[in-house]
Structure formats: structure tokens, C-alpha cells
């Protein structure tokens, strides 16, 4: 008994302290190449003040915290009495959670319940500018929350509904933004038909162009297996970036353009100009988010949505029923591309400039994180995921704490992806169907040829 106890204890505690110290270094000072250890040593030499009462070194605080946490967990597990007590309170908590979950399920299952949930979100959205009145906050909310949610909703169609990992999503966003610049005559190339269009006309152009690119890229690549698709789309994103960066005569090269006009309406007596203030853009984007939510939600519960699930679960069986997988994959790809293209118009017309660095791979990853974190395939999850993560990002930009450096954002997002995949692969608010799929694959019920890895794999198509 004692030996087992010690063995586990040493391992667990060591692991926990290691993680604690990793977090310490992650939140420590920025290092540099000429003194490679300065980041580490800095993390260990810094002190942390507890309300001015005492200021221990940070590393002691972190190590102690990790130690105490791991000991608590273990204590709860190994000490009989505490274990039983924890079990009891755990059972009570589980009951509470279960009844709350049942209620949520009940509410969600009733259409009116689902709609009232959405209505609440929309109301919150409408009144948000009244609650957060600072202009810089609002600008960041439009650019970093609303537009990102719009993009995440689009990527969710590709990755969540159709199960396709698209790492080049940013390319379609770039196409949308550059199309806006092109159509309004802000690029070195002359606009279509030589006309400088009103910015609103960029919307159909951008959607059609992004969709066309989606179809042209999709038809050859969507035949590929999932992981190949991920790399090919990633490469596509890079190529669009390279071209945008170097075709000076067409895209303006590395400096891009900053000549894009604001959105405006001139319809007889109806005149409106979206200008410097963020609010009009906020409401415009919000309106489109709601619109996207509605149409994509119908899409999910339609024949097309069911076909996507069928393909995701078992492509061979789906095809035997007359579903042509490629057609539905291309469709998902094109819909995703179109919504990214649209988001590109919004961004370009609000920031008034487009430059290549905006459209790096990291951007695709950021959107992917929102989808994964919220719950692949769950529209509500994606919206909440976007709110939480991008809300955090904006908060960190607006009032950064000492330990946070915006350049480290992707380090945190990367870590978050790993943690999600280990502990909660279906996301924060999982789609019920996705959750079932994940648990079934894991318990070996579903025997999808694409989903399993270790095992006899010489004959992929065997036992058809």
C-alpha cells in the first residue's frame, strides 16, 4: 500500500511541479538570443507581491501552488475519509450538474428554448455598446471579436459540419479583402470594367470570387485523405500570401493599400456613411452574424447537413446510398470560403487597408482554435468560444497585465489546443452528434476507416 502510494505520489507531484514551472516560464519575461537563459532566469528571479504583505519569488509561488494542488487531488484520492467525502460531495455535485444539464437539454430540445437562448445572446449583442462605451474597446470588439466570430461560424461549416481540416481558410479571407480593394479601385490594377464601385458592391464580388477559388481548389484536393487536405490547404494559404506579397503591380506588394473607402449607401434620399466610429460597423457585423447563424443552423438540420454527417461517419456507406462525397465536401468548402470572403469585405472596409501580414497561417489557426474550443459542429459553441477567447484577447490588449505579452498569444492558443484535445475534445459546448461520434469512436463502436489509426492497416477497404 505504502509503496504504491509513494510511487504515484512522487510521479504526480513531480509532473505537477513541472507543469507549474512551465507556466511560470510561459508567463515570465521575454528572453533574447544573446542571453538565451535570461527568460528562464528572469522567471525564477522575479518576485510576486501579495497585496504588499509579502513578496516571495514567483517560482516558489508557482511550485507551491502546483504542489498543493497535486497534493490536494491525491489526498482526496488516497485518504479514505476524504475520498469518501469527496465522493459524496462529488455525487451531490454530479446530481446538481446532471439536473442542470437535463434542464439545459430540455430547454435546448424545445425549439422555443433554443430560440430564447439565441434571443438572449442577440439582446446582449445589441446592448453591448451601451455597456462597453470606450471607443478603442469597441473598435477592438468589431475587429477582433465580431469579425472572428463571423469567420469561425464559416469555418465551422467546413471543419465542424463536413469534418474537413482547412488550414488555408485565411486565403479566402484575403481574397475577400483584396477583392474589396480591387472593386473600389484601391489597388494598382484597375477595378472591374474600370468602374470604381461603391464598397457594398464588393460583397457579391468577394463572395463569388472566394467561392470560385474554393471550388477550384476543392475539386482536386477534397478527394484526398483528411491529413493531406490539411497540408494542401495550408500550402494554398501560403501561396496566396506569397503572391499577395510579391505581385506589386496587382496587389500593391508588401505594403498593400490603404485607399479603401468606407461603406456607404446612396439610394436617393437614403444616405449613410459608415465612418470612423466603430458602432455602425459593429451593428452591421452583428446583423450578419445573426443572419449567418440562422442560415447555417437551417443548413445543419437539412438534408445537406445530414449528408455531411453521413460522410463524416462512413464515407463508403454514404456513397452506397447515392451521396456523392466530393460534391458535398466542395459545397462545404465553398460555403466556408464565401463566408470568409464576406468577412474580408467587412474588415477591409473598416480598417481601410489590406496588407499581406494580416493573412498569415496564424490567422487560420486562431479561427480554428475558436471552433475547437467552442465545440466543432456546434454553432452555439462556436459563438461562445469566439466570445470567450477573443474577449480575452481584447481584454489583454486593452488592459494587459504585467505577465502578458501580446506576441505570446499563439503560445497560449497552441497550449489550449493540446489541453482541449486531451481533456475535452468535443469542445466547451459540444454538438450532441459530435460528442456521440467522439465517444463512439473511442469506445470502438464506430469503425470508420478514416478515423482509426493503430491496428492492422494493410487493407484499408477491407470488410466492405
Amino acid at each position: 500500500m505504502l509503496r504504491v502510494f509513494q510511487h504515484h505520489m512522487v510521479k504526480r507531484v513531480a509532473g505537477a511541479i513541472l507543469i507549474g514551472l512551465l507556466v511560470l516560464v510561459m508567463t515570465g519575461p521575454q528572453g533574447n538570443g544573446s542571453e538565451p537563459t535570461s527568460g528562464f532566469t528572469g522567471s525564477f528571479s522575479e518576485h510576486m507581491s501579495f497585496f504588499g504583505f509579502f513578496t516571495p519569488p514567483r517560482w516558489i509561488t508557482f511550485a507551491l501552488l502546483a504542489l498543493v494542488l497535486s497534493l490536494l487531488v491525491m489526498f482526496a484520492k488516497y485518504s479514505h475519509r476524504a475520498w469518501r467525502r469527496a465522493q459524496e460531495s462529488g455525487a451531490a455535485a454530479a446530481r446538481a450538474v446532471a439536473s442542470a444539464a437535463a434542464r439545459v437539454k430540455y430547454v435546448r430540445s424545445r425549439r422555443s428554448g433554443r430560440y430564447s437562448g439565441y434571443a438572449l445572446l442577440v439582446l446582449l449583442g445589441i446592448f453591448l455598446p451601451r455597456i462597453i462605451t470606450s471607443q478603442s474597446w469597441q473598435t477592438n470588439i468589431v475587429q477582433l471579436v465580431a469579425v472572428y466570430i463571423l469567420l469561425a461560424i464559416g469555418l465551422n461549416v467546413v471543419t465542424g459540419f463536413a469534418g474537413l481540416l482547412d488550414l488555408g481558410f485565411v486565403a479566402f479571407y484575403a481574397i475577400g479583402a483584396y477583392t474589396t480593394a480591387w472593386v473600389t479601385g484601391a489597388l494598382p490594377t484597375s477595378p472591374p470594367f474600370g468602374i470604381h464601385f461603391n464598397t457594398f458592391f464588393a460583397i457579391p464580388f468577394a463572395i463569388i470570387l472566394a467561392m470560385a477559388f474554393g471550388v477550384v481548389l476543392g475539386i482536386p484536393t477534397l478527394r484526398l485523405r483528411g491529413d493531406y487536405l490539411a497540408i494542401v490547404t495550408l500550402g494554398f494559404g501560403e501561396i496566396i500570401f506569397i503572391f499577395a506579397n510579391n505581385l506589386y503591380g496587382i496587389t500593391g506588394g508588401s505594403t498593400g493599400t490603404n485607399q479603401i473607402p468606407y461603406l456607404s449607401v446612396h439610394l436617393g434620399p437614403l444616405k449613410y456613411l459608415w465612418g470612423l466610429t466603430p458602432q455602425p460597423y459593429y451593428y452591421l457585423t452583428l446583423a450578419f452574424i445573426v443572419l449567418f447563424l440562422m442560415i447555417f443552423s437551417s443548413l445543419e438540420h437539412s438534408r445537406v447537413g445530414r449528408a455531411w454527417v453521413a460522410i463524416r461517419e462512413d464515407e463508403v456507406a454514404a456513397e452506397s446510398l447515392g451521396i456523392y462525397p466530393l460534391k458535398y465536401k466542395v459545397m462545404a468548402f465553398a460555403i466556408g470560403a464565401a463566408s470568409a470572403g464576406f468577412a474580408g469585405v467587412i474588415t477591409a472596409s473598416q480598417t481601410l487597408f489590406v496588407t499581406p501580414p494580416t493573412f498569415s497561417l496564424s490567422f487560420s489557426i486562431n479561427i480554428l482554435v475558436l471552433v475547437i474550443f467552442g465545440g466543432m459542429g456546434s454553432i452555439a459553441g462556436v459563438v461562445v468560444g469566439g466570445l470567450v477567447i477573443q474577449g480575452f484577447v481584447v481584454y489583454m490588449i486593452q488592459s494587459p497585465p504585467a505577465w502578458y505579452n501580446p506576441a505570446d498569444l499563439y503560445m497560449y492558443l497552441g497550449a489550449l489546443l493540446i489541453v482541449m484535445m486531451i481533456f475535452r475534445p468535443a469542445g466547451l459546448l459540444p454538438s450532441r452528434r459530435r460528442l456521440r461520434e467522439v465517444t463512439q469512436v473511442e469506445s470502438g463502436v464506430a469503425r470508420d476507416q478514416m478515423l482509426t489509426h493503430i491496428g492492422p492497416h494493410n487493407r484499408v477497404e477491407e470488410e466492405l
Binding site: 510561459m26 528572453g31 527568460g39 506569397i242 497561417l361 475547437i372 489546443l417 486531451i422 494493410n458
Partner: protein, 316 residues
């Protein structure tokens, strides 16, 4: 990649110069491609974080060179020793990073038999975590490496000079690739890798320790990837994002040769290096990265099993 290509006046010189540069580049790609192919062989998945294994090797050897060489000009004997040490340290760093990666990002998922998409996402997360962590610790600017040897022209082929750097790459690369090939083909551990690649379930029934074999695969692929990072960094230095492009190309090389096939990775790497090098004659240098991608897409369209075919399990 313009640093590999010098400018010559006549076509003959240019041809041989491009060839030498292409082969050197190709050896680096091959060493990285091996890592993709080996992991694919046993796990049937693309290790998205392999680029950061490469970066780990580069950073470790960068700091070693900084300590050893400083600003000095090493003598011939010192050069040999430094290169050997650089190879060892770069390789070990790569192996260590690969091992940690397998432990943290893959093993927990393997334990619960997670869907394949989960591995890809977890690997992407690991990749982003690692290179941004390096960026945080070592800064986000390009740091030039203290060269362990002077890059003189050693001899000429048909008038095209062949520099020390190319010779080092080819010698180190050939030694590494041949030893790996022999190791996987002949040793007991290597047989275990091949058995798992062929049929993990049966291999485990026959007493092969799957976990250990998978770790070993990561370590071997990681070692070669780390060494490649060292060699790659000698002329151009290190920066936290340096892994991305070469790794994407190495992946293309692995697919080109037939993913899962060790010798295929070598052939694919060399071929891609040479094709890329010669494409400078046709395209503006800034578009050279597009070539590898075009090769990848073409191969996947026309012959997804690559040149040598997906010889799963018969990786040697």
C-alpha cells in the same frame, strides 16, 4: 533559398552550381522527410509538429556553436570536432523534443483511441506552442550562427565551385541516412518498428512493446530532424519560425517519394532539392517556395502513393 545558389556567367557553370546546391538542400529535406515518413509508418498520421523538432535542433546547436566558436576562426581539427558536437547536440535536442511531443500531444490521445482529427489538432497546437515558446525565450529576430568551419571552396566541378558547407552536409547526411537505413533494416529495435508499421495489433501480440517502439520512432526521426536543423542553420542562422517552410517542403518530399517509405523519403528529398534549385532558372526567386507546393499537389493528384509507393511496414 538564394544562399544556396551562386551566380555564374555561363550555363555550364550554372548547371553544376545549381546541381550542387540542389543536392545539398535535398539532403537536408531528406533528413527531415525521414521523420515524417517514420511517424507515418507506425501511427498513420502526419506529425504536424515536426517543423519544431527541426527548430529545436537548430537552436540547441546554435547555442553550442556560440559557446564553442564565439568569434574565433576554428582550426581544421577544431572544425571537425565542432561539427561532430553540433550534430550530436542538434540531434539530441531534436530527439528530446520529439519524445516530449509524443508524450504530451500524442500518447494521451492514443490511450483513449481518439479520432484522427484530434491528433492533427493536438499536433498543430504543439507546433504553435513550441515555436512561439522559442520566440519568447530566444527572441523573435534572426540570429546568425557562428560557423564551425570556414566556408572555402574546396574543389570545382566543371568550373563550378564546391564549398566546404556542401561537403559537410553531404558527408553528415549520407552517414546519418545510411546508418538509419541499416538500423531499421537490421537491428532488433528496427525490426520492431517495421513490425508495428505493418500491423500494430499482431506486433503487440508477438511481444513488441508498442509504446516503446513508437517512442523510438519519434526519437530516431527527431534525431535526424534536429541534425538537419543544425546543418540548415549554419549559413543562415536561427529564428523561431525557421521550421515552417523547410518542413513543408520535406513533407512534400516524403509524399513525393511515397510516404511511409524510408528510401522514398531520401529520393523524394533529393529530387525536390534539385528541382527547386533548377527552377531558379525559370522563376523569380521569391516564388521558389511555390515549386515544392506545386510538386506536392501534382504528386497527390497523379500518384498519391509517390514514386516508390506506400510501402507500409516494408519501410526499409
Amino acid at each position: 533559398m538564394s544562399y544556396f545558389t551562386s551566380h555564374f556567367s555561363t550555363f555550364g557553370h550554372e548547371f553544376w552550381g545549381l546541381l550542387v546546391g540542389g543536392v545539398a538542400n535535398g539532403v537536408v529535406y531528406a533528413m527531415v522527410a525521414i521523420g515524417y515518413t517514420m511517424v507515418y509508418g507506425v501511427l498513420r498520421l502526419i506529425n504536424f509538429a515536426h517543423s519544431e523538432i527541426f527548430t529545436s535542433g537548430a537552436f540547441a546547436s546554435f547555442f553550442l556553436m556560440k559557446a564553442l566558436v564565439g568569434g574565433s576562426t576554428p582550426t581544421a581539427t577544431e572544425s571537425v570536432i565542432y561539427v561532430i558536437l553540433g550534430v550530436l547536440v542538434g540531434g539530441l535536442a531534436g530527439a528530446l523534443a520529439a519524445l516530449a511531443l509524443e508524450r504530451v500531444a500524442y500518447r494521451p490521445l492514443r490511450r483513449r483511441n481518439a479520432p484522427k482529427l484530434a491528433y492533427l489538432i493536438s499536433a498543430i497546437g504543439a507546433s504553435y506552442f513550441l515555436f512561439n515558446f522559442y520566440g519568447k525565450e530566444f527572441g523573435r529576430i534572426n540570429l546568425s550562427m557562428d560557423a564551425p568551419f570556414t566556408n572555402n571552396t574546396v574543389f570545382t566541378i566543371f568550373g563550378a565551385p564546391v564549398q566546404m558547407y556542401y561537403i559537410v552536409i553531404v558527408i553528415v547526411g549520407v552517414i546519418m541516412l545510411v546508418s538509419l537505413d541499416r538500423f531499421v533494416a537490421k537491428s532488433k529495435l528496427g525490426r520492431g518498428i517495421r513490425a508495428v508499421a505493418q500491423d500494430a495489433e499482431t506486433a503487440s501480440l508477438m511481444g513488441v512493446n508498442i509504446d516503446r517502439t513508437i517512442s523510438l520512432t519519434f526519437v530516431l526521426g527527431g534525431f535526424l530532424g534536429g541534425v538537419a536543423g543544425f546543418l540548415f542553420a549554419i549559413p543562415i542562422g536561427v529564428v523561431y519560425t525557421m521550421g515552417f517552410t523547410p518542413a513543408l517542403k520535406a513533407f512534400s518530399a516524403a509524399v513525393l517519394g511515397g510516404i511511409g517509405n524510408l528510401r522514398g523519403a531520401v529520393i523524394g528529398g533529393l529530387l525536390l532539392g534539385i528541382v527547386e534549385s533548377f527552377s531558379v532558372a525559370f522563376f523569380d526567386g521569391v516564388y521558389i517556395d511555390v515549386v515544392a507546393f506545386a510538386v506536392l499537389v501534382l504528386v497527390l493528384m497523379v500518384r498519391p502513393t509517390g514514386i516508390l509507393g506506400e510501402r507500409l511496414g516494408r519501410s526499409a
